[in-house]
Symmetry: C2
Subunit: 270 residues, 2 copies
């Protein structure tokens, strides 16, 4: 299969506009206030985008990265705009070490029902508004067998460029959906057979290992709030069990993505 | 007990020099090439510094942060230079949201023998040269009952400002030592009764839960390398067992601090 390679040496070429000024506040293509495009960076993440439901409509990269990506690009109709490192830097506004970018439009979002179908384990996030934490949670979800992520209120955009990058592209592969009604969608999850586990440092909560051990044959939704505020009262009330990670004396909390990893790990372990 | 509060309104005051231009490449006080000072930021981290072996010799902060810190500062002889938000911004070179800083000189480093004494669990790092990962590893070590951290070759400075911040100050509280002879100090650890577990994604490695379950009554040293390259051949050879985290299909690795958290968690769980 051939790859649609187009050589470009003019940084002002309009065909590269979707990759222009990636850091500029007012023109960032990855912000919904901009074009809302999904941008993948680097060979690994571009390859994951190609394999995902986020079909790239254009790529911009060096010849070296084209060689590395070639096996993944066979049969991909989107043009690969091949440019020098210098032309790329002028287009994106800075020197891009990773050497290759892909841009995709946002497909229709998946519904809660779609991502729940067949899922054994869900991560449900509330108020997680840090792109780096969001990205890490997706990377951990992919690595530790979480089937899908559900967004409650107050979460940041998982398709923001930084989140895509930190997730190593897994935000493109792990299905996610936004709850339309919060917190009542939590009750909908329960009606679908999910046991709702609220992660919280509260002392009355049960140890992670105990709870997960009892739910091996059940569907589980793991609820997590942002570092600091944690889950809202309404989400804690809606849950079937409060679950905590046993912490050493004198310490209070772990990073939310790390806490998520421990919960996911305990789930795979059980 | 009184607190040694000194009001300052001149940003050029030389008594504030240890907090000057925190981001400036050539003058950063937290770089060994600069003064090598240890800088704590924010109420929580400054309080942890005060409680640590890193005795602050000066603090710079707003009146609001002084009020919040007061209980921790009773009996601390170091001056608290009280300044406005504007004066602070001019001194440090940017607006510092956290509102308070403390500076400490580096005390003598602890020896390998000192940090091993009485330790049940060690984290041993090789080639971990990312300050954020280093900081996260210390935060995870503190929260998940690791007694000390040992640095093999190729690790970044754990006392760099960003590492201190990301660790939430735990880099000041969790004892650490640098191996003087690498990798032969690994054999010294074994002579001291530690079982050396090398974390690696290699398929021949044993599952984390199996290995930790067998070592409940043993001293354990958990060896970790940087993301990407992983541990060197010589460290893998020196280990008693290769240990892996079971990953979902299609995924390759976790962030090194996340992998560390899972190993530490499994150790506390056993």
């Amino acid at each position: 299969m051939t790859i649609n390679v187009i050589d470009v040496d003019d940084p002002a070429d309009h065909r590269l506009d979707d990759f222009r000024d990636l850091n500029s506040v007012d023109r960032r293509p990855d912000l919904p206030s901009g074009k809302g495009l999904v941008i993948a960076e680097g060979v690994l993440v571009v390859a994951r985008m190609v394999a995902s439901r986020f079909t790239p409509h254009a790529m911009l990269g060096t010849d070296r990265r084209l060689t590395e990506l070639a096996p993944d690009l066979a049969g991909v109709p989107a043009p690969y705009y091949r440019a020098s490192v210098e032309v790329m830097a002028e287009v994106v506004g800075f020197h891009l070490n990773r050497g290759v970018l892909a841009a995709a439009r946002r497909p229709a979002e998946l519904s809660l029902a779609e991502v729940c179908e067949g899922a054994r384990t869900l991560a449900v996030l509330e108020g997680v508004n840090d792109h780096e934490n969001l990205g890490s949670i997706f990377r951990n979800a992919a690595g530790l067998d979480v089937d899908a992520v559900v967004f409650g209120q107050g979460c940041a955009d998982p398709l923001y460029r930084r989140a895509v990058r930190v997730s190593m592209g897994h935000v493109l592969l792990v299905p996610f959906a936004r709850a339309q009604n919060w917190p009542s969608d939590l009750y909908r999850l329960r009606d679908n057979g999910f046991r709702l586990l609220a992660m919280t440092p509260q002392s009355g909560a049960k140890p992670l290992s105990t709870v997960m051990g009892e739910l091996v044959d059940e569907r589980v939704a793991i609820l997590m709030g942002a570092e600091g505020p944690g889950l809202t009262e309404q989400s804690l009330r809606a849950s079937d069990a409060k679950v905590r990670i046993q912490m050493a004396r004198g310490t209070d909390s772990l990073n939310v993505a790390t806490a998520a990893a421990l919960a996911f790990y305990e789930r795979t372990r059980s």
